[in-house]
């Protein structure tokens, strides 16, 4: 149990700190960031040159278009359009439970606009219990699957299933846009065994291949993004070192470097100052290392004023380089956010389909137990789990 009264003091201190965080010092850094963005706004190729010359320790994007300090207004959504979305949720393997199996639940949404056609709202659970599922062999070693891997497998399934759903929709005669919740950059692949990376990338790349071949745009929508990629580029732009920044040999080591003037400002905070509702920012190419293995499908991103919040939208190269598809994604996300009260309605509905709530998880394990007993399969849950269920005084 949580003693709320005991934590109250700490909450008060935290809130006080936050209130201070939003004070003059931070506002000043935001102003510097805005000024810097304006400075490079139409001169962005020069900033890109500086990025090319520099060796910074931060992840910086490639600037694809400008002007930087100006938004693009949203085109109108085509009257008839279908939006496909998926989301996933899971029951993690729990070794204290009756079986260490795990479950992935994918929610599917296909909404048809401008027609009276019925939408598709559904979910499909998949149970994983075989040895290969629970003790996969990667890099020559068998290890018990962990939450990380299950989460990763889920994200991948969301994407491959979304590609299938969007392709099926398009094949049924609907012009379709595919939306997924979260990033298209599977940075979780970094540091994984090569065979695991390879298998994941094959699924990933073939999803993009499929969508690209049918010319169906896909976009990942990130709500409340925290990344500072564009601000990182500005930091490089601020660096006065001749020949470009080289963070390993920073002359200000141990002191406050000039680029600290925009420190801790996120891209979302920056673009909140630039974008009007409905507008999107210029286009950038993500500099994430993991994308080196994405083949032709490099991931691009832009920020968008979705009405209430600044969201980040990620698209693969074939969308970024196709003006029509890019506009379609922009229009769709603005329209989806307007319909969903600030967050794309298809993603919200996909989440509702996918989510496995606490009581459902309990129900799942109790049912599992019943079936084990009914079939006389010896099964034991751990003393710890048992103890949690029947707590004496």
């Amino acid at each position: 149990m949580l003693d709320l009264s005991a934590v109250r003091h700490q909450i008060n201190s935290m809130v006080a700190d936050h209130a201070e965080g939003g004070t003059a010092a931070f506002d000043a850094r935001v102003r510097v960031a805005v000024t810097e963005l304006q400075r490079w706004s139409s001169d962005w190729p020069a900033l890109q040159q500086q990025l090319d010359r520099s060796r910074s320790s931060w992840m910086v994007p490639r600037i694809v278009s400008g002007p930087l300090a100006q938004g693009c207004t949203a085109p109108d959504r085509p009257e008839r359009l279908s939006v496909a979305a998926t989301d996933g949720s899971q029951i993690f393997p729990d070794r204290h439970e009756i079986s260490p199996c795990y479950l992935l639940n994918i929610g599917y949404v296909l909404l048809h606009y401008g027609t009276d056609e019925r939408p598709l709202l559904s979910s499909r659970p998949s149970l994983y219990w075989r040895d290969d599922d629970l003790y996969p062999q990667w890099g020559g070693r068998r290890t018990a699957i962990n939450r990380d891997m299950v989460g990763f497998r889920r994200s991948l399934l969301e994407l491959t299933e979304l590609a299938e759903l969007a392709a099926a929709s398009q094949a049924a005669g609907h012009e379709t846009v595919a939306l997924t919740d979260g990033t298209l950059v599977f940075w979780g692949l970094e540091g994984r065994p090569p065979d695991f990376r390879q298998a994941s990338l094959t699924a990933l790349v073939s999803s993009f291949d499929l969508l690209a071949s049918r010319r169906i745009p896909i976009a990942g929508y990130i709500s409340r993004p925290g990344s500072p990629e564009v601000v990182n580029a500005l930091r490089v732009g601020i660096c006065p070192v001749e020949g470009g920044a080289d963070c390993d040999r920073c002359p200000w080591l141990g002191q406050v470097p000039p680029c600290a003037s925009v420190e801790s400002v996120s891209d979302a905070v920056l673009f909140r100052q630039i974008l009007q509702p409905g507008e999107r920012s210029a286009l950038f190419e993500s500099g994430s290392r993991v994308l080196e293995d994405y083949g032709v499908h490099q991931i691009f991103f832009f920020y968008i004023h979705a009405g209430d919040e600044i969201g980040r939208v990620e698209v693969p190269r074939y969308v970024a380089e196709d003006e029509e598809l890019l506009q379609l994604v922009h229009a769709t996300i603005i329209d989806q956010a307007a319909k969903g009260g600030g967050y794309p309605v298809s993603l919200a509905e996909a989440h509702e389909r996918a989510v496995v709530r606490g009581p459902e998880r309990e129900g799942f394990y109790r049912h599992l137990e019943e079936v084990f007993v009914r079939n006389d399969v010896g099964a034991r849950i751990s003393r710890k789990s048992l103890r949690k269920r029947t707590v004496g005084v």
Binding site: Y113, G114, D116, P119, L120, A168, A199, S206, L210
Partner: protein, 235 residues
Amino acid sequence: MTGSEVTGTRSLESFLDSDTRPLSRSPIPDDQDSGPAAARVGEVVESSTTTLIAEARRLHGAPDFGAFVRIESDGQQLVGVVHNARTQSSEPNRRPMAYGKTEAELRREQPQIFELLRTQFEVLVLGYLEGEAMVHRFPPQPARIHSFVFPCDAAQVRVVTEDPQFLRSLLEAPGVPTDELLLATLRHALEQRQGSTRDYLGVMGSELSRVLRDDYDRLSSLIRRMTTWGRGEAS
């Protein structure tokens, strides 16, 4: 272990819920349904001996107030009358909200909301059919959950309403808007009788006078409203 192959050849049907709910979730049009179940108007979702609740096959698709329905349940043919209908969110933690748009606009621009609503109707059990005859007693077993609900055809309505006993069942039923229900069912009964409506109304009127002889105001109000139909409004 990392995900299935991406084929691009799946059909939209392959994304439906694994245990497809034919009532409200499936985007497959209803007219693809065939067989004897095709005429159903609903499916029983709560059941007791005296009353049951059914989910309408279509949104806003409950039978009219006072309409007679038949439930096929485990060899029994239960008969009842619809006394209440409601449409609400099918998700316990979500409530409908106002959008300020017409239904046609909502269907074009917020199509998902109609999938999250359902119409249910309540049925008062009157008895059951035995062959062609109506038995005005509660059935030995309540309708089974997931039994289908069908509208009674004209002949069945005539059989059910032949014996004025059904009026007594309605008058004795708790928790229903009795007089309104009485009049509505009588109108349905009349609609299925061509020609002889005056005689029929006469029989039902005298039965009501017997049952309600101690409540003159109520009786006269009912009779007054029935007489207006006799002047041709309902026939």
